[in-house]
Each structure stands twice: as structure tokens, then as C-alpha cells.
Symmetry: D2
Subunit: 345 residues, 4 copies
């Protein structure tokens, strides 16, 4: 019963096999291996972007920060949701990589920025007046940090707001596959109006690889220099491209996201039948936020269930526990059902 | 005949097996997995440093830069050899991570800093006067960038110079194993007087892992924050600790370094019998710098030999070619001998 | 009728005279001139802090940023009001000087942070967990950006909250004199529990000097290096110390602040008699925020009155104009009354 | 007998008068005052550059660093002489402002870079290969740090080398006036091929102002943002423009530089008649480097002469003292002759 994070699960066996296969003999380093060329072609096809520059980075924090830094100046604002991962969970990495850009926070119920709130935040930011931080890129996360997914119209309205002001858009797609499966759309539907994308793999069955997809090729060389300078260019790069190639082969990435989303749906469906469990946010993909009674929390812990709970379990015994449950590709129905059983007990 | 770099060779099969084994089920992320605790113990034992803080980082550039940044202030000088990897091959990573520290270059014949040259450089650097950059850490590389290895007395004289001025010492041990095998000493002999060590694995048979060994535990928390902030903290960290654990098991790391050094010795011995080949630097470990005639260079290239050559091959036809040959753990006698045969022809 | 800013008025004639006097012959540079020693003694006496380190800086932005950077790490949060000058009007200077610290905004009605709001913001900030930005200094502004002044109990509650968490406190005293006059207290009353102070002079009758008062002398040397490295150490420093010495002589600084505050009080008293004028915030010192009808705005503009107005004057003709009026030491009753007459007309 | 530095002398009385005149009434802040427009016109005329962007900054360190940062990327090298002021005397300010650019040092006898040495250094710097720091601006100082002045052909060869590689050129003209007077040329002769200029005033009779002259107007807006963000935009900017306007009026700046250079020439002429005094570098402007016997050094010190001496006066009693003597506009023949008399005694 592991729902702590999709970064706690195993990599898919096919990925491990690809890794072992990639280990034969010598290979050109730093992304010059043949597999990387194939990865580039696959991703350009997928995103219907023949000119896109494609790079692999081993962590999501680095991918987001390298992309944002390549899109903005140190004296600019990066507009994002008030609970964005780049704001809350990266120890100031965007500020570090960008040499001090400022994250400008947009109120976001259920972690989704309303277009008008984004427009308002941008409007109130300096442009052309030297005293204030200037307008910079918009960063959007989907699947969001609360498990919600922007509908395509919602997403396109946000990129439209950025376009009104001539600002570039970064899409934090650490869980891109889960969002796409949730919407049932094409990959390119999600990146319409998007300048750069963090295309996640680590949370969806890889060991540790994200693709930086740069739709504006003018940013590519700067990205390469920033990646090297930040120690994120791998010499034995073949082990990154092998993962990503396996990911994209035979739609493995979609298969894994489907499994993760299905597990979350099963959790949600089950909870809806349990009166004491209350969903905190709509669950559109593989993340479930809920509260349940403290006693249930204790039962689950005693049974070894792993998940992230907010608020001290030593608090008011009557106050319910807020929990975050994340499903990965390897979640099993048996475990999910067992979790629900204990919760319902 | 692959002598381009020890980062072009494969990982050792035992490492791949360990990786596959580590992929079972769920594991705590970010270094909280059980294997990491074992790695810490092994490295503390190896370096006879029960209080050392140990972290894993996926690239050498990041390891060096994170350690140096944790050891210095932005307004300090980092003293290093004029051909140090951190100066020449990391695109300014130490400057980036340290927020602008200055690399202060020490003349270094054969890439080895004479102690008096280091002392002179430090002496001429400001201390306590606000107009100049202040004295900061000393960074030493062994195996050096030219394939030489400091003798233990040489090394201890350098750390002694740093101690005279109260400065901390960073050891860039990207090829630590090769240096240790070359000297036939204990690991701890090399780290006497050293504050932090980049303990390399990537160039010696891993996929991509170095250990940051911090002998001064007061630097540990800052290092952790810097690592996270730089996007170098891996969620699926088990794949890093698995590599390092395999590396340290049954002295695999020493076995691999021995093989690499032996291959270089074989190259050197062979070249000494070939009149046209001239060694440019003493070869103490697994790197050989040599010149050979342009015609020989062409023969080798035509036969598919891979190595790094300096000076345009389209230059003066009489001018010999300078070449760098690096042997990795998987080098074979057959390939080495074939290289020598073609060279001698 | 100049109410645009207290940085638009002239320097006091006594300051100019001091400047001319200071220009005789040669003087030691960089703060080693004799006058600087006298300034140090005066300020240590004033703040009853015999160990305080004292430096002069020519701009308020630099003073605030150098102090904050000396008090925090790049991976820390600086807690401040949501409308703090360091957040809104310095083009990201604190982020630049601190190498990327994050400003963490506290809701602040009338630009005054309630202690519980500050405590809440700090509590929700990471400490000891590597994923989030860590807790850093608290920055308080008084006179605030909306013209209010913390009462001494309010101020001491805020510094008390910082002390609960062991955090240092920065006081942005760009209008310190106006706040002190407003409260009728001693200088040291305002700096109880404060770690560093920007003691403003520029907005109160100097040409361009602020004193950085550092109550924790351990921060002094780092401040000196940061000041130099940022190009804020003046060679002909005597022209800074001469201004500050004149400022402190015969309570000139208090005399000027009294005049400025009195002018604002006169404005406020007058406006209260004008039905269409509405005060937006309590006016405790030398700043007045008010709205008045668009027609009145036009009359004032036509008469040459200068002040900062928010909201386009071309907007809805029925919508009142929001105005900020700032009084400096050289404001005259005649001008103030004329302004009120036109407004009332 | 003050030869410590041209930053120890007084400002010219005409400058002080201008400052007092500028202090009347209210003025627009931040460079919007009328005098600044006149300064812009004067400098554009002087440099025959109608499109140049002109800004005032209060210190030379900031002017150099702001200009260099606006001309380069953090991952680039700034090429300069091995004894450049930006390398030796600014506590790493260029690294700070540029977010970590690397100063790449060119050997420079008498502090003058030979064109071939500059070309060699640039050639050996990476371009288009991600592993090394990339080529960035060339920074040239004249009057140099050793008192020499590039001849116009020497200077134009250097800018020509930069042009070969398509690199921009920064001219550190902290003593621009002294160089121009030394060469007897027009101001624009010195800035042919130059992208940005630090046009010094502080060392030549102002209180503290340099002009940043930006010949490529595309750099202007970035410079403005960087200046603000670094706390170098003055609110009461009129006191900067007043200084610069007085400087440029009736060729006051040239008159002062002539006086300073003449004083140095008198020193040099005198020393040439004193056998024990040895000039260390050609003295082309207002700086003299010389050695003289330890006994003479002591006589001068006892008589109150002020200058900068290198090497401890407590050293070997037979070893001569190295001294740097700098003349400012207010130097008198009487003092110079007295110095020479004591030296000769």
C-alpha cells in the first residue's frame, strides 16, 4: 500500500532491459550517441514540432529551472500558481538558475490558475519602468500539484493570456503523461502555445530522466550552456537516452500513466462510498487529496500504508487527517482495495 | 581501439546487475533508502573518517562545484592548477555554483602544482583588505589532467601549504581509484589534510555516480541545501546508491582501476619502443599524452582508433600530432597491441 | 506644490556647507577620513550600541540589499510585507545581492504586518527539510510604504516573533527620522530587537547617504566585502561622512523630519474638512494617501501640483483618483494651503 | 606631498559651486532632471556618437561592472590584462554583476596587452563547444594600471583583434582625460571600435561620478535595469549630473587632467636627475612607478609624504622600495619639488 509518491515506485522492467542493452561497448558521450538522435525524432514527431530542440536532464527540478532560466532575465518575474512545485518544493532552484528572478504568485483554487487571475497579476507587474521587476515567462503545471488537470480550453486560455502580453510559456509536465491520458488528447494539444516543456519520465516509470522540449530553437544553445554549467550534462548520456527511448517505444509511457490514473480512480471511487472520507480536490489523474478520521489514519499506518499526511497526527483527536495519495504505474488493485477496506473499516 | 575517454566505456556488468536488483518494489526516495546507509558506512570505513558526511551526485562537474561552493564565499579565490578541469572543462560551473568566486591559477608543469607556486599564489592574494578577492579553498586534482599523479609527499606538501594559511582543501578525485592504485597506498593516505573529496565512479565503470565525501561535517547541511537547489538531489536515489554499493563491493572499484592503469602502462611500454612516438608527460595512471607522426595518426584513424588529438590534422604535414589516450576498465590487451602495431608500422 | 516624493526636494543648506568644508585638501579615502570616525561615534551613542558597526552607503536600495544579503543565505526566505519597498520598488535588488533569496510576503493592511500573520508565514516555511526555501531574516519598514508607523508595542511584537524563531531582523528606516518624530520616542526604542538598520538620510534632506547600522558586529566584515564587491564603497568617502555628520549635528535630522511630518499633518487636517477627499490609510508621518474627484485632480495638475497618482486620469470620469502625497523638510505652509484651496474649490 | 592616489584630492571648486547651484528647489529624480539631458548631449557631441546611451554612476567599480555585465553572459570570458583593475582591485565585482563570468588574463608588460597576446588568449578560448567558458568582451584600460597609455595605433590594433572575433570592447577610462591629454588626441579617437566606455570623473576632480557611455544603444535598457537592481540609480540624481556638467564646461576636465599629468612629468624629470631613483614603467600620464633607496623612503615618510609603497619597509635594509606616486589636478609644483629635494638629499 505505497501511495507516498510516484517517485518511490520501481522503474518498468522494459526500461531496465533497455538500460542493460545500452551498456554494450563504447559509445559517444554527452548526447552524441545514436539513441539520442532517435529520441529527438520521436519527440519531434510526438509534439508535431520538427524544429524543436530536445535535451535530456536527470531531474525534474533541474529541467524546470534550466528551461525557465533560458526563458527569462534575472530582473524578470516568473508567473506561476501560488502552490507551484517551483515555488514550494525546489528550495529556490528557479531563483538559483536564473540568478535571482522573482516568482510572482497567482491565486489558484485547486492549484489551477484562473486566466483572469493570471492576467491581473501580469498587469500589475512593471513593464518598461525600471523600479520594478519586469514581466517574464508564465509557468503552468499540469497535472497540477493538487491532482487537478487543466481542460484544454482552460489551458489554451492561459497560454492566450501569456500571448496577449507577448510572454513565453513554460509547461511543467512532470506528470505530462497522466494529464494527457486524463484528457484523452494528443500530446500536441497540450503544448499549443507553449514555448518550453518539461516532459516528465521519472515519476512515470523511469529511473531518472525528463526531456526538455524547446519549441523555440533560438533558446537551444543557451540551454546547452546552462545545462553544462550546472553540471547536468551527463558524460555517459546513453543511459539517459536509453530510458527515454524505451519510454516512448510501443507507447509504454501511456500504458504506465493509464495504470497510475486507473489506480487513483479506483481509490476515488472507493472513497466516495466511505462516508468519513472527503475528497479535498477533484482528482483528475493519479493524485488524490482527502481527509479521513484520525482513527482511520492510525489503522492505515499500523497496516503499513505509506502516504503523505499533513497536520500532526498527535493533534486534536477529533480533527481529521489530510492525506495525499499518489499512485504509480505499478500500483495493484489488490493493494488499493486493501487500503480502502482498512479505511472503511 | 577506444581511447577517447574513460567516460565512453561501458559500466561494469556487476553494476548493471545491482541496478536491476535495486529496482524491486518501492523504496524511500532522496537517499533515505537502506542501501545509502550502507554506502555511507563503507566510505567512512574506507576513509577512516567516522564523522564524514557522504552524498551521491550524478556528475563530476556538479560534485566538484557543490563541494567548492560549500567551502567558499563568492568573494574568495579558489586556488587550482592552470589546467585544472574546474578551470578548463566545466563551462564556469564553479563560478555558477559559488555565485562568482574567482579561480586563481597556479602554474603547474605536468599539471602538478609545485608547493612553492601554490604558496606564492596564495601569498599574493588579498586577506583582510577589502579591495581584492580574498583567500579561499585550494583545489587539487589527482590523477591530474595530464595523467600524472602526485606522490604522497608532494600531495601532503600541498595540503600543508593550505594549512599554513588556514585554507580548506578540495580533492578532485574523478580518477581517485586510478591514483590510489598508481601509488599503491590506502585511500586515507590520499585524503590526509583534505576537507572534501570528489570520489569518482563515472570514469571508472559506473553509469554516473560520484561520492561527495565531506570530512568537515559542519559543511554537510549547506551541501544538502545546495544540492537540492541545484537540482542534483535524485528522487529515485536508490539507483545511485546501488551503483556505489556495487562499486565498493569486493573491491570492484580497485579491480577496474587496475585494469585501466595496466592498459595505459602497456601503451606506454609499447610507445617507448617506437622511435617516432614521444611521451609528453609522465603517465602515472590511465592517461597517456604523446605525439606521433602525422602519417601514423592517419593510419590509426583509418583503422578506427578513437582518441582525442590536439592541433588540426590538416596542419603542417611535418608537424607531429599531439594525442591524448585514456584507458578504461574494459580496455583489452588485444586492442592495445593492435593500436601499437599500427602506430609502429 | 511638490508632493511627488521626499527624494525630489533639495538638500538642507547646512549639508551643502558641510560638503564644501569637507572638500579642503587631501583626505584618506574609503572611510578612513576623520569625519567617519565621528559619525560612527555619534550613531553608536544615538542607538546606545557601543559595538555596532556603522557604514555609509549612497542609496537606500543598496543599503537594504547589502544588509539583507549579509543576514541571509541564498536558499532562505526574507519575510516582509506584501507591499514592502524591497518587494515592489527595487527591481529585484534583494534577490540580486543575496544571490537568489526569496521574498516571502506577509499580508499587511495599511502596510503594517500583524504579528500573527508574520508568525503564520514563518511557520509555514521549511526549516530543516531540504525541499523548501529555509527561514531567513524578517524585514520591517517604518514609516511604512503607505505612510503608517508601527507603534512601539506593535514593533516589539514583530521583533518578538522573529526572536521566537531565532531569526534576525532588518529595519528599513528610509524614513527613520519621520517615524521617530511621529512616535516621540528615542532612536534606540525603535531598534530594540533589531539586527540591522537602514538609517535613511536621502529622503530627509541629504544628497544621497544612508547609514547601515549593524548591531551584530559579526556581520561587519562580510558587509564590507559585499559593499566593495557591489561597487558601493566610495573612494572620496569624505563626501558621504560630511553629509551624515551635518545631519546628526544639532539634531538637524530631527528638525527636518518634524517639518516634513508637520506638513503632512497640515494636509491631512485640511483634507478632513473637504468632503470629496478621502484618506486611504492613516497618515502617521510625512506621507498621505487619499482619493479625490477627477475634476479636483485636473485642477491641481493644471496649477502645477506634483504628486503621484494611481489609476489612469483618462479613466471613468466619475471614478476618483488615488493620490500619494509626500512632504519633505522644505515644504511650506503656503504651498500646502494652496494645494488644499485648489482641492477644495 | 600627497601622491597616494588621485582619489584623495579635493573636488574642483567649480564642481562644488555647481553642486550648490543644483540644490535649488525641487527637481525630477532618477535622471529626469534637465541637467542630465544637457550632459547627454555634451557627451554625444564629444564622442561624435549621436545614438550613444549615457548614464551616470557614482563609482568606477560599479560603472565597469555594470557595463561588462550588460555586454556578456555568465558563461563567457572577459579578456583583460593580468593586472587589470577589474581583476585586482574590485573584490570580484565583475563576477558579481555578471553572475559569474570568468576574467581571462592576458600577459601585459607595463600593463599594456600586446595584440598578439590578446589574439592568442581569445583563440584558446572555447567557442561553440559547451565544455568551456565562451568568448566574451575585451576590456582595455587606459591610462593603464601601471601609468602607461596605449598609443592610438596600439589601441586600434586591440579593438581590431576584438573585431576579428566579433567581440565587443569595454574601455576602462577611469583616467580617460589623462590618457587623452597624454596622446593629444580627440576623445573620439580613443573610442573608435569601442562598444562601451567608463568615462572617469572621480579621479579627476569630481566628488564621485563616472559616465557610462554605451555606443551600442541596444544595450541601454538592460544597463538601466542592472543599474537599478544594483542600487546604483540615484533618486537625487541632479547631484550627479551637476558634477558632470561642470566637468564638461569650459573644458574643466581637460584642464584638470593637464595639471595632473604635468605634475607627474615634473616628478619624472626630477627623478631622472637622481641616480638612486629608478623608473619602473614608462610614465605616460599622471602615475609614476619608481624604486628608491630605503633611506630615501624613510626621509620622505618622516617629512609626511604620502604614497603607496610595495614591499615591507621593514625588509632587507639594502633592498630598494617600490613606490607608486599618483598626481591629481591639485598637485602643486612646490610640493613636487619638495618631494624631489627630499628624495635627492
Amino acid at each position: 500500500m505505497h501511495f507516498a509518491s510516484d517517485n518511490s515506485g520501481p522503474a518498468h522492467p522494459k526500461v531496465m532491459e533497455a538500460l542493460v542493452r545500452a551498456n554494450e561497448g563504447y559509445a559517444m558521450p554527452y548526447g552524441a550517441e545514436a539513441a539520442m538522435e532517435r529520441v529527438r525524432e520521436r519527440l519531434r514527431d510526438l509534439f508535431e514540432a520538427p524544429d524543436a530542440a530536445i535535451y535530456l536532464v536527470a531531474t525534474g527540478t533541474a529541467t524546470n529551472s534550466l528551461l525557465l532560466a533560458s526563458m527569462c532575465q534575472p530582473w524578470q518575474a516568473i508567473f506561476c500558481s501560488e502552490v507551484a512545485h517551483i515555488e514550494e518544493d525546489e528550495c529556490g532552484a528557479p531563483e538559483f538558475f536564473s540568478n535571482g528572478a522573482k516568482l510572482s504568485l497567482v491565486p489558484a483554487p485547486d492549484a489551477l490558475m484562473p486566466p483572469e487571475a493570471l492576467r491581473d497579476r501580469i498587469s500589475r507587474t512593471a513593464q518598461g519602468v525600471v523600479h520594478g521587476v519586469q514581466r517574464g515567462p508564465v509557468s503552468i503545471t499540469t497535472v497540477s500539484e493538487r491532482g487537478t488537470v487543466y481542460s484544454l480550453p482552460q489551458l489554451h486560455k492561459l497560454t492566450g493570456v501569456a500571448a496577449e502580453f507577448g510572454l513565453p510559456v513554460h509547461l511543467d509536465g512532470a506528470r505530462f503523461a497522466n494529464a494527457m491520458v486524463s484528457l484523452g488528447c494528443r500530446a500536441a494539444d497540450l503544448t499549443q502555445g507553449v514555448t518550453t516543456l518539461s516532459f516528465g519520465g521519472t515519476k512515470n516509470g523511469l529511473l531518472g530522466v525528463e526531456a526538455a522540449v524547446i519549441f523555440d530553437p533560438d533558446l537551444a544553445w543557451e540551454f546547452e550552456l546552462r545545462r553544462k554549467r550546472a553540471g547536468h550534462l551527463f558524460s555517459k548520456h546513453r543511459f539517459l537516452s536509453a530510458q527515454m527511448e524505451a519510454y516512448l517505444t510501443d507507447d509504454l509511457w501511456i500504458e504506465m500513466a493509464r495504470a497510475a490514473n486507473a489506480a487513483a480512480s479506483r481509490l476515488v471511487a472507493g472513497m466516495k462510498t466511505i462516508p468519513e472520507a472527503t475528497l479535498l480536490h477533484p482528482s483528475h489523474a493519479n493524485i488524490v487529496y482527502a481527509t479521513f478520521p484520525r482513527a482511520a489514519h492510525r489503522r492505515l499506518q499500523d497496516a503499513g500504508a505509506q502516504f503523505y499526511s499533513m497536520g500532526s497526527p498527535e493533534g486534536d483527536p477529533d480533527e481529521p487527517v489530510r492525506a495525499r495519495l499518489v499512485c504509480d504505474w505499478s500500483a495493484t488493485d489488490a493493494n488499493t482495495d486493501r487500503f480502502l477496506d482498512i479505511l472503511a473499516d
